[in-house]
Symmetry: C2
Subunit: 351 residues, 2 copies
């Protein structure tokens, strides 16, 4: 590692983060071009479908400036034609002398190939500078391509006596305004939100986020029996504000003529297994499961859950309430993190 | 208020705190004697039965030093013969010119009388300097004499899925070592610890504290039906390390020949009402109810609980576990405080 590599890479990471909530299925990537110890240009991937971070920086400079320069990039440059021509080719053509990469791209179409191509053209390549930070920036993306399955986060809001609502079949605001805002922000970190039909019907939520994006999380309803047919005026089925996917075994629901934002999947067998298969197929990298408790218990009992986020209010709701998630067997997460949100607390646990 | 009154009173409060865990039914009290802006002596109430804070400071000085001095004392000087002669008389005889008091003594034998006596003898008296801090120092004492009932704290240790043990009828260590140490320390802040017979039998606890004291908390077992008769080898019934009180409706248990540390109360009717009546009669100012959940629910449903302390582990224990406290109806506390203890959290709620 050359002196200052880490600080130029940190600058590239800061650039990358500017694309948050906009790059959708693409990772956030940032780049910095340096010559004689001077930053000549910075760039990042702005939106899904737009030019990549390397091209964004390179396009700001003349061939003379690029000649013999060093490129810092937070993720391995791509080597294939996707929505954009391959960055490795552009780097080679630009006569960049040295490329410093934080993270090897875990995406199977890229991994290692970009690096190999650069090296084969005589470019000096260094890999792994601030790799951990870079991986963290695109944690769900990395996990998905490393493990070929989406990152699953369960989220619940409970009272101290472990209730999610004061009376079964009704909605109770258990947690405070800070939690409300946090959840609305946090949803934008996921590519899909999953709820059961009871939650859809009782709460009638919009499941939107507080962050502007052309790619809001897909709102997924699990409705095995087709209960939504009696509730066709729900916001999720009519508001057109984000895609809504329904997984059901009910033929009538599956073929109901919804508006264009609503898409139904007709399933046989275990609906959660079908959901995960479809998510993999469509490369949906992460889901935020918002309940209710039955759905969350099913996830905990059937799958490897990556993260559990609990918003806890220290109020006592009383014995008529509905209990929060409660798995069949003991489960422990490796990493636990607490955050106090006024008079509530956020407990984040992950493996 | 004269300049520096608050800082001399803070010194007196620091003195008072030296008596922690030793003054038992007496409040912690500290005193400082000042002349010409100079601290001449400090004092505090060292142990239950020992001389009071005022006498402790006064006894360190000559009549010349005391003449025309100012006495700072965290609690109103007593005016009656108890285990010690009245401090008000001693102050008058010492020709102290001015007395600054933080808190008026809520004890009905004292309240206001000490102040009146001093004033009648021409002593300048100021009351209320750092009164809030002084009251907080002896919170349970103050509450008891202000309300004629003991301060009731419920304490529970639960998992994220609201279990106190993994399998009913057995003991599971839910919380971590930091919690264990904290509870052992915290017990010493109370004059009695209350558990049910199930907890006594299943856990076989000692209910001791980590603080040396001649007056460890009384260990109270509620055993309506006399189940302890089948478990006479429990630590609480045999270890002789602190007093044990048993409240029961079972005649045989009530008259069982235990050792001298064990005292039985034969009850008719509601055992919790009997318990509280006895505590009032014996001026036990505070209780720390350690469970199990049935006893804690009974407290929550029948009485005004002053404080609820929950130690929460973010682990999930599984559905065979026994649920933590769960009152019949909604209950909210006014003040909520969180404290992170490694990978567990302490939630303190009070009215």
């Amino acid at each position: 590692m050359v002196k200052n590599d880490a600080s130029f890479m940190r600058l590239a990471l800061n650039q990358a983060a500017k694309g948050r909530y906009q790059t959708w299925k693409n990772p956030m990537v940032g780049s910095v071009i340096v010559k004689h110890g001077q930053v000549l240009a910075t760039g990042y991937h702005h939106h899904y479908g737009d030019q990549h971070a390397e091209r964004n920086a390179i396009s700001k400079l003349t061939p003379e400036q690029l000649f013999n320069s060093t490129l810092y990039v937070t993720l391995e440059p791509c080597n294939h034609y996707g929505k954009q021509p391959p960055c490795s080719e552009l780097i080679i053509k630009s006569h960049i002398k040295r490329v410093v990469i934080a993270q090897v791209d875990p995406h199977k179409l890229v991994t290692g190939k970009g690096i190999t191509n650069l090296k084969q053209h005589g470019i000096e390549v260094e890999v792994g500078v601030l790799a951990e930070e870079a991986r963290k920036l695109n944690e769900h993306y990395s996990y998905f391509y490393e493990n070929d399955q989406p990152w699953i986060t369960l989220k619940q809001a409970i009272s101290l006596d472990h209730k999610v609502t004061a009376i079964k079949g009704t909605r109770t605001q258990i947690t405070n305004q800070e939690v409300y805002q946090r959840v609305h922000s946090e949803r934008a970190d996921y590519q899909a939100i999953v709820i059961g039909s009871s939650t859809a019907i009782i709460d009638n939520p919009s499941l939107l986020t507080s962050h502007q994006s052309n790619f809001p999380p897909i709102r997924i309803i699990l409705d095995r029996r087709g209960r939504l047919l009696d509730h066709l005026d729900l916001k999720l089925l009519t508001d057109n504000l984000a895609p809504t996917w329904i997984f059901t075994q009910n033929q009538e629901l599956a073929f109901h003529p919804f508006n264009n934002s609503v898409h139904c999947f007709l399933n046989k067998g275990n609906i959660l297994v079908n959901l995960l298969t479809e998510l993999k197929k469509q490369e949906i990298q992460s889901i935020y499961v918002e309940g209710g408790p039955k759905i969350e218990n099913a996830f905990l009992n059937q799958f490897q859950v990556n993260e559990l986020i609990t918003y806890l209010s220290p109020d006592l709701i009383g014995q008529d309430g509905l209990d929060g998630l409660s798995p069949q067997f003991r489960q422990q997460f490796t990493n636990k993190n607490f955050e106090i949100l006024a008079d509530n607390i956020r407990i984040d646990e992950r493996n």
